[in-house]
Symmetry: C2
């Protein structure tokens, strides 16, 4: 399974944001929405063997699970609506137990460190970063967890936590890209690496 | 220069669409907006040596020119607003002359065939298609023009016109992707092909 964790440093933690202002008042939720789309959407369907974890302002983590994900459309606005519905259910997320808001979407009361700690046992965490090893120089790992940040860099605390668990720090090319574009390239690398001639 | 032409088969030809319904009433304008973002946006800036041509319902072509493009943000809604402004200026596009609506964005009264005919002399047209040659098997061409379609396939007429001018038909991987994701991978291929170790 391929998993992606994206940190939204200014992302909303209540459902009171407007779908008309995702790139402004909603703390650049547009970036996180595009990351979800890049992770799941292919032509005429979704990638079922994928999970995405959006860390919202270090307070909540929303998980999208491709194996039973419904109602995901490729546009930003409808993805933001799924996130808003998840936040409407945040009071049902007690302790570290998830609360499912729509099929395949659930919210947990967990920040970055707790989410990474939970996922590291079942994945190979990989930090996508501009100073890393070219992605084509690493062998495709089993069960990769690609960890990315939004328009801000990882904080020092986040970097320290990641350094403790990541085997690889990789970059996708010489041009520094947005997180959603990096996800598309990571997928393509994995898609093509198993094929001599695809 | 890298250029991208994307055909919007149901795209609006008047500015009367709602920014709140890009994926519905606006004829999947969300796809074209994401293509613009994929073509131009990199972290903290845009790719200046890029042009994008959006063919709207075979009636108008809107050109985005990276060398003097302003006001482009990465979210779908603000890109759609630039397209709407271009359509508000459609009456100023007389004959095949462009009408500039905002810096770097102009509209022409040209459909698919006329736009391809105009561009073929200055580019190497490449059709991105699921049955093509793997992109890694072609040498990066000079001045590529990648031609893509929205959520619909090219019509028979469009295919015939493309067959007349394209040297290559390429695919980006074994998984069939949306146009905007294919653009991201095409960029990455060109970005990395000139570097032994990026």
């Amino acid at each position: 399974m391929r998993q992606f964790l994206i940190v939204g440093h200014e992302a909303p933690t209540t459902p009171s944001f407007s779908l008309d202002d995702l790139a402004g008042g909603a703390g650049r939720l547009d970036i996180l929405c595009r990351c979800v789309t890049s992770a799941f959407v292919r032509s005429h369907g979704i990638r079922e063997d994928v999970r995405v974890h959006l860390v919202l302002n270090d307070q909540f983590t929303i998980q999208f699970d491709g194996s039973n994900l419904k109602r995901l459309n490729p546009d930003e606005r409808s993805t933001a609506a799924l996130i808003r519905t998840a936040l409407e259910n945040r009071e049902n997320a007690i302790g570290h137990m998830p609360a499912e808001s729509t099929p395949g979407v659930s919210i947990r009361r967990m920040g970055f460190a707790e989410t990474v700690e939970k996922l590291k046992t079942e994945t190979t965490p990989i930090r996508l970063h501009e100073t890393g090893t070219p992605i084509v120089d690493i062998d495709p790992p089993d069960d990769p967890l690609f960890v990315l940040s939004d328009h801000h860099s990882f904080t020092n605390d986040e970097s320290d936590q990641l350094n403790d668990v990541t085997e690889h720090q990789v970059r996708v090319g010489p041009v520094i890209l947005h997180a959603d574009h990096a996800i598309t390239i990571a997928h393509n690398y994995l898609d093509t690496s198993g094929y001599e001639k695809y």
